[in-house]
Assembly symmetry: C2
Homo-oligomer: 93 residues x 2
């Protein structure tokens, strides 16, 4: 995952924090924001995208959703697979 | 959500149960299986799709992912919004 400034990473904060982060990006003039999440945060990423377009920015839409399997190294030197999602939102305004 | 026989609904069972349900559909000759989930089960739905294509059926791929907000009635007569996902997998074999 890259550290693009138009990217919002979903972690353990409240859902609305991420909605606000996306709104800030759009208000700053970005026409595209990418939401990234791994593992259990994937459900929250979908909530964030849905809430943003339904309640805050009706001119925004989800234009692409991609999933992937990432291999993470665990503490014992082995690796664990974790699913990730990338939701692209565009503001058509 | 409809009750199409090519649809696998993700609930509270173990992830591998749903992977097996999808494999059964493909083995029965379906060339398309739709995975549906709501709320916290969304993360599991992504795991199920990723595990199916990476570990069990390399000729299968995710061809479409859609999200939605559903309005569910709660016990008090009010309603709650819940996000849902629909992942379409196709077997190209």
């Amino acid at each position: 995952m890259d550290e693009d400034e138009n990217t919002v990473f979903i972690g353990s904060k409240e859902t609305m924090n991420y909605v606000m982060a996306i709104m800030e990006q759009f208000n700053r003039g970005s026409d595209e924001v990418v939401i990234k999440a791994r593992g259990r945060a994937i459900s929250k990423a979908v909530d964030v995208a849905e809430i943003t377009k339904n309640r805050f920015l009706e001119t925004a839409d989800i234009t692409d959703i991609m999933t992937e399997t990432e291999e993470l190294e665990d503490e014992g030197g082995g690796s664990t697979n974790v699913s990730s999602i990338e939701i692209t939102m565009k503001n058509k305004a």
